[in-house]
Amino acid sequence: MSNFKSRGFYIKFYSFLPIIVLFISVLNEFDLNYLKLEYFSFNFPFILIFFFTLKDFKNFDYLLVFLAGLVNDTVVGLPLGISSLSYILICIATSYLRNITIRPNPIKDWFYFLFIISLINSINYSILTLFFSYDLLLLSYLVNIFFTFILYMFFAYLFKYYLKGLND
C-alpha cells in the first residue's frame, strides 16, 4: 500500500517536474554565467516555457509561469512584471502556433522560437531603456538570443525524452 502511495507521489512529482525546474531556474538563474565564458549566456526559462506550452503540457499552468516571471524580476532586479509579460507573450505565441499548425515540424518550431525570442527581447529592451532609463548592452541581448536559439534543439531533445518517459 505504502509502496503504491510513494509510486503515486513520484509520478505526480515527475509530471510537475517542468514547472519545478522553471521555478528553480528563475530562483537560481540557471544560465552558467559564473563560468565566465566570454560572450556566453542563454535564457533557459524561455526554452522551457516555449517547449512545454507548445506541447500544451497539462501541468504547465500559465498562472505559475506568470508567477515565475515575477520571481525572476525580483531575483534579477528588474522592474516587477517585465519577465512575466515576456513569459506570457511566449505562451501566446506558442498557443497561436499550435492553432495554425496541422503537421508540426521541429525545424519550423526552432526558427519560430528565434523570431519570438528576438521580438520579446526587443520589447524587453525597449521598455527598460525607454520607461525605466536602464543602461543595457545591446550586444549582451544579441548574444543571449543567439545561444538561447542554438541551445533550444539540445534541450528540446532532452525534453522529448522526458515526455516519452511520462507517457511510458
Binding site: I24, L27, N28, E29, F30, D31, N33, Y34, K36, S41, D56, K58, N59, D61, Y62, L63, F66, G69, L70, V71, T74, V75, V76, G77, L78, P79, L80, G81, I82, S84, L85, I88, L89, C91, I92, A93, S95, Y96, N99, I100, I127, F131, F132, Y134, D135, L136, L137, S140, Y141, V143, N144
Partner: protein, 409 residues
Amino acid sequence: MASSRDDFIIAIRSAFLKKSTQQKFSLLTLVFISIFIIVLSSFDLKFIRYLKAGISEAVYRSSFIVSIPENFLKNTFFEIREYSTFFKNYKINKEELNELKSKSISDKITQFENEELKELINNYTLSSDKLLAKIIVDHDSPYLKSIIINKGSKDNIKIGTNIYDRSYLVGRVVEVNYKTSRVLLLSDLNSNVPVTIAPQNIQAIITGTGENYGEIKYIKEGISNLISQDSIVYTSGTGAIFKSGIPIGRVDVADTGSSKKFKVDFYSDFSQLKYVFAELVTKIDVKNEDQKVDAGNSQINNTVDTKLQILEDEKKIIEQTNLKFKNENELLKITINNLNKQISDFKNEVYDQKQIIAQYNIDLDEIEFLRLNLKFGHTCRKSFLNNDGFEVGTLEYKSCVMNKGQTDE
C-alpha cells in the same frame, strides 16, 4: 483571401482568450495583469514599496536555499583551483604582508590627521561602524550586476549605504528590505562614481561596463594624457554619495591607436565575494568649548546659534569665493600656457629670420667678391708674370681681391 484573414483572426482570438482545461486564467488577462504591475512598479508608492519588499524578502531567501547545491559545486571548483596555486600565492602574500605591515603604521597616522582636519573643516564628524553582511544571492546576470546581502532596514541599512570588500569599495545599496538589501556593484552599467586619480590628482567619473572592470569617463579635456598606467583610483566624495578616500582600483591604459581608453581594474574580485562590510554612518555634531559652557542659557544659546549661522554663511561665501578663485586660477593657467606657446612660436620665427639674414649677408659678400674678382682677379692671381700673386681659392687671394688688388703688406 477573406477566409485566410478569418483563420488568422480565429487563431489569434483563440490564442488570447481560450483557456485549456487546466488553465485558470486566459492569457489576455495575464498580459493585462503584467502591464498593470509594470505600470504600478514605475510609481514609487508606499504600498507598492512594502509589497515589493515583502516579495523580495521571500524570494531572496528561497533563492538562497535553491542556490545551495549550485553554490556548493561552484565553491568546490574554486577551492580546488585555489589549492593548485596555494604555495605560489603563499610566497607572494608573505612578501606583500611584510610590506603592508610597514605601510600600515604610516597609514594610521595619516588617518588620524585626516580625521582632525575634517573636524576643522566641518562642524560635524562622521563616525562609522562596519557591519559584516553575508551575500545570499550572487547571480552574475549578463545585464545587471548586483548582489543581495542579508542585512536590511532592521540593521539600519539605508539606500546609498557604501559596501566594502575589506577596505575596497564594492558598490552601494539601491534597494532595502526588512532583512535583505540589494547592492549595485561598481561593474554595473548604471553605476557612476566620482573619483580622484592619484598621484596626478585628476577628478573623473568611472562607470561600470558590465564586465569585471570599470572605465574612466567624463574627464576634463586636455588632461587625460597625464593619466599613467597603474595610477590609483579612489573615491573623491563629490556629490556625497560615496565617502571620500576609498580605494577602488588601478588604471590600465589601453591604447587603441586613435584614442586612449582608461580601464580601471578593481581591487576586489566581485565574482568571489562571500562576505562584505556595510558602513553605517552617523553624523555627530562637534560642539566647541564655548557651547558646552553656555549650555544652560538658552538666550546665549540663541546668540551662539545666530553666530554659528553667520559663520556658516560666511563659510559658504568663502567656499564660493574659493571656488571662483580656483576657476580663475585654472583659466589663468590655461592663458599662461597659451602665451608660453606663443612665445615659443615667436622665438622659433625670430631664429628662422636670423638664419635668413645671415644667409643674405653671406650671399652679398659672395657677390661683392665675384664682382671684384672680375676686375682685380688678374692682379692677385699667381702667374708666370705675377710672382707676387696668390693661389686661387686661398684666403690671401680673397683678401687681395677684396682690397682691390692691393696686398696687406
